[in-house]
Each structure stands twice: as C-alpha cells, then as structure tokens.
C-alpha cells in the first residue's frame, strides 16, 4: 500500500484529516507530522523524516503539506533521507481533499501513479 504523510503547521489539522479519512478507510499507512517538536504551530524536519520512514515501502510514499515551511522542510527531509527518495513524492494538491482521496485510494490498493491521476485535478500551484 502507498504510504501517506500529512504535514501541517497544526497538529489538529492533520489529526482532523486522519479522523475524517478513517471513516472510509482504516488500514492505510498514514503518518502525521503536525506542529513543532516543542508543541508550537510550525513544521519540523525530524517529525517529517520520521513520518516518511514509518510508512515507507517499495509501493512509495505521497507527502501532502499545507503551506510555507511545510514544503521547504519536506524537501529538506527528502534531501537527507537514507531511504530511496525517488519513491517519495511531495504532492501539489488541495490539502484536505487530496489527502483524503489518496488515503481512500491507497486502501483500495491503488498504485502511486493511479492515486496521482485521481488527484491531478486538485492542484493548487503550491509548488512554484
């Protein structure tokens, strides 16, 4: 199954998305990286790296993010990742809709490419 990583400045946002998706799909490898390590609003490269690792497999990982430093820290996490980062992709998508679609799709055993095709229409141009 494709792993899904959710990065937000807010812990509550990623928990909320996971909660919503769990109504439809339970056994998907989803990992959260919400807020900083000292409990503030913000993003944390170590949390992101751990999240990616925890759902990493040969099926790949899709990384969703909210804004600003979430994207920059996701990129840096990939730069430093020990695992094969070509299997990990940061996704330009409306955060809630894209993530929920991807989680449900992963639960249906869709591949990385199939999931990306399903959310292609949700791009927001967040990755200039």
């Amino acid at each position: 199954m494709v792993g899904i990583v959710l990065i937000s400045h807010s812990k509550k946002i990623v928990e909320g998305i996971q909660e919503l998706a769990a109504q439809m799909s339970q056994d998907v490898p989803v990992a959260l990286a919400g807020g900083t390590d000292d409990g503030r609003l913000g993003t944390d490269i170590n949390k992101i790296t751990e999240a990616i690792r925890s759902v990493y497999s040969d099926d790949g990982v899709l990384v969703f993010f909210d804004m600003g430093s979430a994207y920059m820290n996701a990129q840096m996490a990939l730069d430093f990742l020990d695992e094969d980062s070509s299997k990990v992709e940061i996704i330009d998508s409306a955060f809630v809709e894209g993530a929920i679609t991807a989680i449900v799709d992963s639960g249906l055993n869709k591949s990385m490419d199939e999931i990306k095709a399903d959310i292609a229409s949700m791009k927001l141009g967040k990755m200039p």
Binding site: T36, D44, S69, N73, M76
Partner: protein
C-alpha cells in the same frame, strides 16, 4: 584573516544578538506574518549556541554544517530551512579550511543567497531576507573590488543589509505569510530581512571589537 576560534566567536555574538532582538523580530512578524519570527530564530540560535558549546569542530566547514543542521532542525518556521540552507552553503564554500578570508565571506554571501533562492523559490524584491542579503553580497563584492580592508568589507555588508531591510518597508510581500496580506504589507519591515541584517551586523561587530 579569521581563524576557527574567531568564527566561533562571531557565531556566538550572532546568537546573542538574535536573543536580544527576539521581541523586536516577533513584533515585526506580528504586524504582517504569524508573529513567531523572533521565537523561531531565538530557538534555532539557542541550539546553535549549544552546538558551539559542545565544540569538537574539525574545520570551518564542519562548524557551519553543524550549526546549519541545528537551525534546520529547531527553528520551526520558514526561516529554519532558509537560514539552514544558507549555513550549509557556507559549509560547502569553506569545506576543510581552518581559516577564512574576506574573499570567502563574499562567496559565502553569494552562495547563501543562491541557496535561499533555490529553497524558497524566491528572488530579490519580494520582501524577504533576500532583500537584505543580496545587497549585502553586492556591497561586499564591491568593497573587495576596490581593495578595501577586511573590516571595511564586513562593514559594507552590514550597512547594505541594514539599508536593504529598511527598504523592504516599501515592498509588497510576495513570499511567505506576509504575501497573504498583499498591499497591506506595505509600510512594514520584513522580519526575515531584519534578522538577516542583525546576523551580518554581528559578524562585522565581532571583528571590529577584536581589533
């Protein structure tokens, strides 16, 4: 020009300067952002200070790499990956060197700005730290061209960065949190440009005081 222990001294003054200006930076960010720049920078530089206290640096490249990783890991906002990338670029310029010359400083400013542009997908004129850093690089490069002394080169970067930071007041933010405000960001100084000016001032002030 500068030996490893002096560079460590300059980095210590940088951390102290950021700590002293924590409230000020947070106020600037409160006006047009999310009001955390001072907190972010203070936290990041507290870990830089811890890194300096631990010591054991093999060379100047190793020093900047460790400090850069401290910033990347602990800042929590956009300034983390941005300043972190800048420090890692500095590490690449210095590599296994144990002393740093004025020409290296210019190269560091240049590569740091390039690194931030790459990481932030940003450029000059967008009301970010680059509007302090790029003028600082240009002024330092000019000073080298004119055969100025090392201290004059550091001072030129300091002055140009401070002017650049003040100059961000008239710009419309196009990157980061402040970009959500658009025109409303005019009249306020960019917090990242202000912190970049403080960082470069600390370098110049450290070496001026050593004389």
């Amino acid at each position: 020009m500068a030996e490893l222990n002096q560079i460590i001294g300059a980095l210590r003054l940088m951390a102290e300067t950021i700590e002293k200006n924590k409230e000020h930076l947070t106020e600037l960010d409160g006006a047009i952002g999310d009001g955390d720049h001072g907190i972010n920078m203070s936290r990041g530089f507290a870990f830089v200070k811890e890194t300096l206290d631990k010591g054991g640096f093999q060379n100047a490249g190793d020093l900047f790499k460790k400090c850069g990783m401290a910033l990347v890991a602990h800042v929590g906002g956009a300034s983390g990956p941005l300043y972190g990338t800048a420090f890692l670029r500095a590490a690449m310029v210095l590599k296994d060197r144990e002393d740093v010359h004025a020409a290296d400083y210019v190269q560091i400013l240049k590569d740091a700005a390039e690194g931030i542009k790459m990481r932030g997908k940003s450029d000059r004129g967008e009301k970010t730290m680059l509007d302090a850093l790029i003028p600082a690089y240009e002024a330092a490069a000019d000073a080298v061209q004119q055969g100025k002394s090392a201290q004059e080169i550091l001072n030129a970067a300091k002055v140009a960065a401070a002017e650049g930071a003040v100059g961000t007041e008239k710009l419309v933010a196009q990157k980061g949190r402040a970009s959500y405000l658009g025109e409303r960001s005019i009249g306020h100084q960019d917090p990242g440009a202000a912190s970049a000016a403080l960082v470069l001032a600390a370098v110049a002030d450290y070496f001026a005081a050593e004389k």
